[in-house]
Symmetry: C2
């Protein structure tokens, strides 16, 4: 048995999220089917990030064990020939036997994109959240700054999450303009269920003037989901990359 790892990119629009489900088309399910068609094995896949329906990824990471002799680097072109165009294996390699895409991850970077144009370009509409109101970028940036640190992020976690500890470390949280879009860039060691979409909804509220940027610390301290803003829609969210230690890559 060997452990194969993949960096995988996808446009999440057409999928019911990452995680395989019996009666829905998901990214993981589509990937497993491609692996089955390639080498005849029903593998167990472990994804680093179980992205929600409609969320995109440039660099999710997945691993699985196989008896197939296909060399590590060859999985990329081989799987791409069985995958639809909106899912691509960007890199493939033979990993250490104990490599775990989620537990071994040092940090993850997500970006949430907001379009404030009066009319959203059809070329961008799959990858942005449209907000009609004018947003105060400075207020959003100030709120974002207070999000950085090691905190119990319970206020930014949707009900139903199974995780025991809600403590995470966020190393970067920045708000900046990129062309006609406002980008919220977040990096950390891991994120709770819907954490970045709730952060985006809260920062949008701050940009609209509905919440003061100074309230970020109070919201964090409350540990109360009701104090944060709404969960922003999925299509604005992109998993950009996951970093591992030298030895694992």
């Amino acid at each position: 048995m060997r452990r194969i790892a993949l960096t995988i990119a996808y446009d999440g629009t057409a999928y019911s999220g990452w995680q395989a489900q019996a009666n829905a088309v998901t990214v993981e399910g589509t990937l497993r089917e491609a692996i089955r068609r390639l080498c005849g094995e029903e593998v167990v896949t472990i994804g680093a990030s179980r992205t929600d329906a409609g969320v995109h990824a440039l660099g999710n990471v997945v691993a699985f064990d196989t008896e197939s002799p296909i060399p590590g680097g060859n999985w990329r072109p081989a799987l791409n020939s069985f995958l639809p165009q909106d899912i691509r294996v960007m890199r493939s390699w033979e990993a250490e036997d104990d490599f775990h895409p989620r537990f071994n991850a040092h940090s993850k970077r997500y970006e949430y994109r907001i379009a404030t144009d009066e009319v959203i370009s059809p070329i961008r509409c799959r990858y942005v959240c449209g907000v009609r109101e004018t947003l105060d970028l400075e207020a959003m940036a100030e709120g974002a700054k207070a999000f950085v640190g090691t905190h119990d992020y319970s206020a930014f976690c949707s009900a139903g999450a199974q995780t025991e500890s809600k403590v995470r470390t966020v190393t970067r949280c920045e708000v900046y303009r990129e062309g006609p879009e406002i980008v919220i860039g977040v990096e950390g060691d891991g994120f709770l269920y819907n954490m970045i979409r709730i952060l985006a909804g809260t920062l949008i509220d701050m940009g609209r003037g509905a919440k003061a940027p100074e309230s970020m610390s109070t919201i964090l301290g409350s540990l109360d989901r009701a104090k944060a803003g709404p969960t922003a829609p999925p299509q604005g969210l992109m998993l950009v990359r996951i970093r591992y230690g030298e030895d694992e890559r």
Copy 2:
């Protein structure tokens, strides 16, 4: 009767091109249906550019006559509420009675995008043509330069075109890199059927070394479609904008 003009943007992936057809979903057909649902009229639409299936637009222009009292600027939000997200009215206004989107156009700009990455990102795959080989950008730029001018462009026109004169004026033709993509930017007073896709196929041949850049003049002079390169696939092509004289806007 008043003449309403629209600037319209669309992701052409899901459509059988611009022009309305009896048994296919087209951009023009979808727009006419939105107009019918908005004001109950079956209008005749005149589009500036009849883009092919799979070709995109940021700024096509269309005009129609209507008895509806809806003010010019209000057509934009009203129609957008009846249109799918992959078609957007970016601007609407009341035009002169004799405004004709195609005949009055001074110039059009198209861009053709080529991705040379080993694996094409799923976020970009709808808008680029993938070329696996390394392309010589300088050779392509040299070939492009010779495409500029007033010529009979018969060698760059697909059979079956109905136009009588094949003489057009191309004012700009440039090849440049934009991030991981190679862009062919072309401007002119009008273009023949498939002209830019055949130009792209020919410049790709020059980038691959299959054709010498100096042969552009010979190909143009031959008036022979067989001398030019293949017709590049539609998804790389984008109608960027159409310019009119001051008075028409």
